[in-house]
Amino acid sequence: MKVLMKGNEAIGEAAIRAGCDAYFGYPITPQTEVLEYMSRRMPKLGRAFVQAESELGAINMVYGAACTGTRVMTTTSSPGYSLMQEAVSYIALSFVPCVIVNIMRGGPGLGNIQPAQGDYFQMTKGGGHGDYHLLVLAPATVQEMVDLIVEAFDLADKYRQPVTVIADGLIGQIMEPVAFPELKAPQRPERPWALTGAKGREKNIITSLYLGAERLEQENIRLQATIRQIEENEVRYTEYMMEGAELVVVAYGTAGRIVQTAVKQAREEGIAVGLFRPISMFPFPYARLKEIASTAQQILVVELSAGQMIEDVRLASCDQLPISFFGKMGGVVPLPDDVLAEIKKLVK
């Protein structure tokens, strides 16, 4: 059964359905409804909810809860995610699972609260200090958000890594019909690494500190091996009207939605254009995009930023075909007509 629900509230409900046992957050627009939703729902279910003193507090509470092997989530928006970077780096090398949602807003700095995709580099290229990448999933609809949040918990458990989901204020605030999976009780499968009290076993230590260079190198090799596995197994994308597309538009999340409408209109006008929408921003779908680049005549990248994902598109295609960019910054959201005009400029 489908219910009409706001994106941010759907994030909360999806996490609850996935068995999220603890939520820690801090108010920041445009994601605050997740915090409010969890403050209503979690205590009623006997699960943990804390409104933290800051995003630093929230992510370190996530870190602590994650050390016990339970399912835990925080949600934030761009400046809040910047504050969290210290702990995210610690969590990555500590090999503990958690889910982090970034409902991006206009930046840099305090920016504004309008939809934007300016955090792509921070999300996909590491974000904090040290060598790491996190799995990054980017939905374009509320239903896809729900499905990816549920999956994010499984992926976090599978790789013992933070899994991030990115969207923007548009998907956070929009209301759409959405179906949820069955409610899952929080479960603690056997996790021999978790901190649960050293009863009948050697003590467990969770740390990201390794003073010896060789030892730290070994942990880095282990982390990189996990990231290689993620790259191998977790590439996700979707294609729309790609049959015989001479112009391929690459866009994700909200930009992907807008482009889809523009592509439909362009096709109706007889233009051979299609949409390639990456869903896993890390791992980026390099291989599929490389194939596409070998048959298409040109690529247009559309982002709500100055152009960040375009660097990965160029890497995938090895610059073997013309690649143009259409983007809006500062929370300005283009209309499908704006994208259509751009498409027409390129194919004329």
Partner: protein, 255 residues
């Protein structure tokens, strides 16, 4: 061994049998042992999680036989909050120095106390950043020479020390806030009792508990261990008076 021989002193089960990295004369070793003794006495080693800070005691997890996590600098009380909220039956303690707790981590400790989190913090105050080589700490005494206050801490430009117990004792969520020291055996015994009470406060679910230990740093103070204990007794305790700063009525009932 004769029939009358009785074992009266041994290593606590909760204390690991390893060589420590602490400098000779440092009080960290005493406090570690007391925590381990209390864990043994309360029978909680197998259901305790410790959280180590960043600072000299960054490797504390190597010295206790219970589960342990290593926090980012100053964030241990937030991490402890996350653990305790999902594992309320476990005993969670943080072990933090003055740079970690009273400078970079003030926000986390104040709000953990304000929320009345059922966690215990052991706070080692030796008025100096030890691990990085003796820089001025938030608790460095006025006039005290450190590597970053080479002319002595000038309160006009470098501000005044932070008295953590006095600050936290204003918060209603705090159940047990006391300051002790360890420069002589009588003080060590008082400190042991306070650590035990702090853990009992947590086990009884009464709220946030913190034991500050006015401590020493012979290495970075440029003193012999004995001189450093004299400095604790004469100068440190003068600025950081020992005593109970907040003890909720329910805590008194515990004893």
């Amino acid at each position: 061994m004769t029939q009358e021989a009785e074992l009266v002193f041994s290593r606590p089960e909760s204390l690991s049998d390893v060589v420590t990295h602490y400098c000779p004369g440092c009080i960290h070793g005493i406090v570690h042992r007391l925590i381990a003794e209390v864990m043994d006495e309360l029978g909680i080693r197998e259901r305790t999680i410790g959280i180590a800070p960043v600072g000299c005691s960054v490797l504390a997890y190597n010295y206790f036989e219970c589960d342990f996590a290593e926090a980012a600098h100053g964030r241990a009380p937030a991490m402890a909050t996350g653990m305790k909220r999902v594992e309320p039956d476990l005993t969670i303690f943080t072990y933090q120095g003055d740079g970690d707790l009273a400078s970079i981590g003030t926000n986390e400790v104040i709000h953990a106390a304000a929320r009345g989190e059922n966690i215990t913090t052991i706070f080692i105050n030796n008025a100096v950043y030890g691990m990085t080589g003796g820089q001025m700490a938030p608790t460095t005494l006025p006039g005290m020479v450190t590597t970053s206050s080479p002319y002595g801490r000038d309160v006009k430009t470098q501000g005044y020390p932070v008295r953590v117990c006095e600050l936290l004792s204003q918060l209603d969520g705090a159940a047990y806030i006391v300051r002790r020291t360890a420069y002589k055996p009588a003080e060590v015994r008082k400190l042991r009792r306070a650590i035990k009470t702090a853990f009992q406060v947590q086990m009884a679910g009464l709220g946030f508990s913190l034991v500050e230990v006015v401590s020493n740093c012979p290495t970075n103070w440029g003193m012999t261990p004995k001189e450093s204990l004299k400095f604790v007794e004469e100068r440190m305790v003068d600025y950081y008076p020992l005593g109970d700063f907040r003890v909720k009525d329910e805590v008194k009932d515990l004893r």
